[in-house]
């Protein structure tokens, strides 16, 4: 771990100013990713600006939706009554991540900034275009059982590890930020970037830009939603495959659908095309399977992760069955 300076900010404006004035400064919220990576010498910020005193810990319910402050802990988010009733997929996804201790520390905004569990990124030594642009990707031909099959490039196949974000992309959440150039709203689908040729760029945030809130638009049918996670053990483990699903069913026909996948993609993965397959269909195995097939149709397997394609399909079918039932 490198020596670093530690500062505290009481307001978003002060925090933004402190971080944007130093090229190697970083915001510190729960620290569950950043401190871990600092100990591994993967991240080496010169300055940490602790934003935990910034008053961003409220969940506000309005007519247009729900606004979740960036510093709302994962625990508080998951157990909030409105979230549980109106967006069960988000509550379930959040509770399926990490452990109670970590969820108590981890923040909503921080979860959006979670970094990959790719072994080669974290070891601090292997070629990794994300950690050291241009150095190559050790995962392509390495032990890539946990790696992504969707949204990959020949520069990076690192999986985005978040559960919470998978629910957020299904819900079309909006990320509110404040940066040196002012405030902006970023649709969650555009917040995380595909690795392409620049895997070191993971989000749309600019340096010094801070997440202040995540807004959940009203989506009445999300009351009928579910998050399903499949992993190597029952709890406290990243997903091999996960699915966030919400369905609107009227008169025995699917009118609207939200599908997203986790554990299999380089970013929280919205399956837009698969949603279209479901619209107008009867909620039944045939439609679910067709949607799952569509969702994975561009999947690319490497040596150790081919099973994820079939596992993701089945996970999606099961989640759809749970939400939509069988007719």
């Amino acid at each position: 771990m490198n020596p670093f300076a530690y500062l505290r900010a009481d307001t978003a404006a002060a925090a933004v100013k402190q971080v944007s004035s130093e090229a190697r400064a970083a915001f510190l919220a729960g620290g569950t990713t950043l401190l871990d990576l600092m100990k591994l010498n993967v991240e080496a910020p010169a300055v940490l600006v602790d934003i935990n005193a910034v008053p961003l810990t409220k969940i506000e319910v309005a007519e247009t939706g729900v606004r979740v402050g960036a510093l709302v802990s994962n625990t508080d988010l998951a157990y909030h009554e409105t979230i549980r009733q109106r967006y069960p997929v988000l509550s379930e996804a959040t509770l399926s991540g990490a452990s109670p201790q970590l969820r108590n520390m981890a923040s909503t905004g921080g979860n959006l900034m979670q970094r990959t569990r790719c072994y080669y990124f974290r070891d601090g030594v292997s070629p990794c275009n994300k950690r050291q642009p241009g150095s190559g990707c050790a995962a392509l031909e390495g032990f890539n059982r946990i790696h992504a099959v969707l949204g990959t490039s020949d520069q990076c196949i690192a999986t985005h590890p978040s559960d919470l974000c998978v629910a957020l992309v299904a819900l079309d959440a909006v990320v509110k930020t404040r940066g040196p150039k002012g405030e902006r709203a970023i649709p969650i689908a555009e917040f995380h970037l595909l690795p392409g040729a620049t895997p070191e760029r993971e989000t749309a945030l600019e340096h010094g830009e801070m997440i202040t809130a995540v807004e959940l638009p009203n989506l009445p049918f999300a009351a009928r939603s579910h998050y399903l996670k499949v992993r190597d053990r029952a709890s406290y483990e990243f997903a091999l495959a996960s699915a966030a699903v919400a369905l609107e069913i009227k008169d025995g026909v699917i009118r609207a659908a939200r599908l997203a996948l986790g554990g299999v993609a380089t970013k929280p993965w919205r399956a837009f095309e698969a949603e279209k397959v479901l619209i107008g269909a009867k909620p039944a195995e045939a439609a679910y399977s067709a949607a799952a097939k569509e969702a994975l149709k561009d999947a690319k397997a490497r040596k150790f992760n081919a099973f994820k394609i079939e596992l993701a399909r089945r996970t999606l079918v099961r989640a759809l069955t749970t939400v939509g039932g069988m007719t």
Binding site: M1, Y119, V125, E141, F143, V230, R233, S235, F307, R318
Partner: protein
């Protein structure tokens, strides 16, 4: 000997210390002027160091020294003497030369004022290499392969009868399959750590070790000191499972660093270093061939194992010696053990080394044979039960395996099992019931103890044995209390200090059997002295009796024929004028017993799995284990050992896998997020039953160890249950979702 405390479920005597944080583990120890050491690892698997640039590290704040092969003080080779001294984890001394044998090898030690400064400076050390192409797996044709003759005195290449002839019998029903297990890493909660301090030529180390006498011996050897100049302490250990059994380079390096900087030094491994610096269970490739007559009688067992070790170790995972060679009556048996040297860190014993992967292979193969014979797997095992060790012909010292099968089957409800795969369901889940035999040798090693009873009627009993979290403090307090005829509350047991009477490594599940006997004999020595004192003391009501007419109990000495005639031993000792009476022992299992009996523990594991087939998800929902480990000294701690063993076996069966990069040989799952072990949510109900009948030959209390047997057979029982549930036979552990899709 009357026993009151032994056999009772006494709460852990060290429980309060542990839950309040008062128990001091090695890394909790501090010292005046303590400095901190951090290791610099090799990132490649084979090569030569061409240069080490430590300039930046030496300039970093707080740095006191950087030790490398260039400047490390000369160390002497340690004697490899498992039974009388110590055993180093590796043959090579740390920082011996410029050679790199595996990724993760310690290349330098950075010593600084604080742990953070040392960690920072360690990241600044730059090592230049000349890289060579490593050999990373046993199937690489360049791997140096050997057929070692023996491992810890057990024959590795073995044949009885005529296996080939039995296999050629056209009437035989045969199974031949290959079973593989990956590298598994012990991962105790406590990281290995050493705090070393020199006082002139005297060295004291607080070391996280399962073997204080071993640490003492190895450190004495490498520094050329008499053993009594070195003291090793370890009153508490946060789990070991074998990785703290032998003495590893970091312990030596902590002592070297303390010598170089002239201050006490603390060195604690990181979790990642626990995957390369303190051993692991090597991967195994086991081909098992079984033949049986139509009625199920075994006619041949062949077990061919290939396993791996590093270029600087000879450890071999002996999968067949205490499994296929001896578990069942079979006239024809053959073992082959092949050892391949690869550029991967050095392996070491891990809970039931050999027996654990060995029973996975053999007990899976027996399940396959049972299906081939259309026979119940319990019935097949009962039919082939052996009343003697089939390798030596010696009778078992005691053996209640058939009772274990019966008890386990009854408690589990085995007779309700329908054998056809996929025939049992719970709603949409497939249900599978599987079983396997558990076994582990009943080791008893030489051990000694000292008992000191004082005029206040209290006793301190001590032995250089170990508390791994198993309950040693508690059971040895119970054994000592009964042996001295005192209530447990008046007895304090001390361990974990090399200056105490010698005791063996806490390995091979030997401690209970070995040390309990040392305690009993030390107590007898005390009582013999007390009896002599009493009968010679005119003030004693026992005056005039012969010493052998005196009995002890409830803190009193009394006439065996007339229990009301006697007095508190406290009074007797008080009048003796010395304030205390001391008894010492030095015990070993007699040659005669070793020549007459085979000592082995057995048990039966039964489990239920429920499989969500579409999601390839396996849950172990129910467990019943029945065990014969002789007499149970404490049912509570004994049960805890079984819970831990079964859960560890669940990890082995379903998730544990130390994966290596195929090109660099670096472990990639070297942390507790990527190396999955079971969490509470993975573990269903576990019931443990004990036959609890004393082994009349092993020692006075009739007890054998339990810790290692508890894990054996678990992986096979689960794999067998998964087959019963799904019809899929997984022979390659762990049984992760990808293997069931």
């Amino acid at each position: 000997m009357s026993t009151k405390a032994v056999g009772s479920p006494l709460d852990r005597v060290d429980g309060r210390l542990k839950v309040t944080g008062a128990a001091k583990y090695a890394a909790d120890v501090s010292a005046k002027d303590l400095a901190h050491a951090v290791l610099v690892p090799a990132v490649l698997a084979k090569g030569k160091i061409t240069a080490i640039d430590d300039a930046a590290a030496l300039k970093a704040p707080g740095v006191l020294a950087v030790l490398t092969h260039k400047n490390v003080p000369k160390l002497r080779p340690a004697k490899d003497d498992f039974f009388n001294g110590g055993k180093a984890g590796e043959d090579r001394l740390p920082l011996a030369d410029d050679r790199i044998h595996y990724a993760g090898q310690h290349l330098a030690v950075v010593v600084a004022e604080t742990a953070e400064q040392a960690r920072h400076a360690a990241a600044l050390v730059r090592v230049a290499y000349e890289e060579e192409k490593p050999v990373l797996t046993a199937d690489d044709p360049r791997a140096r392969r050997t057929l070692p003759k023996e491992s810890f005195g057990e024959e590795l290449q073995y044949h009885r009868g005529d296996v080939d002839k039995a296999l050629a019998d056209p009437g035989a029903v045969t199974v031949e399959q290959t079973y593989t297990t990956p590298v598994e890493t012990h991962n105790p909660m406590e990281l290995s750590a050493t705090v070393a301090a020199w006082d002139g030529d005297r060295l004291t180390v607080h070391d996280a070790t399962q073997w204080v006498k071993g640490t003492q011996a190895i450190l004495a050897d490498v520094f050329g000191l008499p053993r009594d100049k070195v003291r090793a302490l370890c009153p508490f250990l946060g789990g070991g499972f074998g990785c703290k059994g032998f003495i590893w380079p970091h312990t030596i390096l902590a002592a070297v660093a303390a010598k170089v900087v002239g201050r006490p030094v603390k060195l604690m491994l990181t979790r990642a270093q626990m995957f390369v610096g303190v051993g692991h269970r090597p991967s195994t490739h086991q081909k098992v061939t079984l033949a049986a007559a139509k009625d199920g009688t075994l006619t041949a067992v062949r077990h061919e194992t290939t396993t791996e070790t590093s270029p600087v170790g000879e450890y071999i995972e002996a999968c067949g010696t205490a499994t296929s060679r001896i578990m069942y009556a079979c006239p024809n048996a053959r073992l082959v053990h092949t050892l391949a040297h690869v550029n991967v860190a050095t392996p070491t014993p891990m809970r039931a080394p050999g027996e654990n992967p060995g029973t996975f292979a053999l007990e899976s193969a027996l399940d396959e044979l049972a299906y081939a014979l259309k026979m119940d797997p319990v019935a097949l095992r009962v039919l082939n039960h052996t009343a003697v060790n089939p390798a030596t012909g010696l009778p078992w010292s005691s053996n209640f395996l058939k009772e274990c099968y019966a008890l386990g089957a009854e408690k589990f409800g085995w007779k309700k099992r329908t054998p056809e795969p996929r025939s049992m369901k719970d709603g949409s889940l497939l249900v599978g019931w599987g079983m396997a035999t558990a076994t582990y040798p009943g080791y008893r090693f030489p051990a000694s103890a000292k008992a000191r009873v004082t005029a206040d009627g209290k006793a301190v009993v001590s032995s250089a044995t170990h508390e791994l979290g198993t309950g040693a403090y508690t059971i040895f307090t119970q054994a000592a209390a009964d042996a001295l005829g005192l209530p447990v509350g008046r007895v304090t047991f001390e361990l974990g200090d090399s200056s105490l009477p010698p005791a063996p490594v806490a390995g091979g599940s030997n401690s209970t059997a070995s040390v309990s006997q040392a305690i009993v004999e030390a107590a007898q020595a005390v009582q013999s002295k007390l009896a002599q004192m009493a009968v010679a003391d005119a003030k004693s009501p026992l005056h005039g009796l012969r010493a052998d007419q005196v009995s002890f109990g409830d803190g009193k000495a009394f006439a065996a024929a007339e229990p009301s005639r006697g007095e508190p031993i406290a009074d007797l000792i008080g009048r003796g004028g010395k304030g205390a009476v001391v008894g010492e022992s030095a015990t070993r299992l007699s040659e005669e017993k070793q020549k007459r009996f085979a000592f082995q523990s057995f048990g039966a594991q039964f489990c239920e799995v429920k499989v969500d087939e579409a999601l390839a998800r396996v849950r172990v929902t129910r467990w019943v284990g029945a065990f014969d480990n002789g007499r149970v000294l404490n049912p509570k701690t004994c049960r805890s050992q079984v819970l831990g063993g079964v859960i560890m076996g669940m990890g082995m069966a379903l998730m544990e896998h130390t994966a290596y990069d195929e090109r660099t040989g670096r472990p990639v799952t070297d942390n507790l997020a990527d190396y999955a072990v079971p969490v509470n949510a993975d573990v269903g109900a576990i019931e443990a039953y004990f036959i609890d009948k004393p082994d009349p030959h092993i020692n006075a209390l009739g007890c054998r160890g339990i810790g290692e047997m508890a894990v054996t057979g678990v992986a096979a029982a689960i794999a067998n249950a998964v087959y019963h549930a799904t019809g899929k036979r997984v022979r390659d552990l762990p049984i992760t979702p990808d293997k069931l899709l």
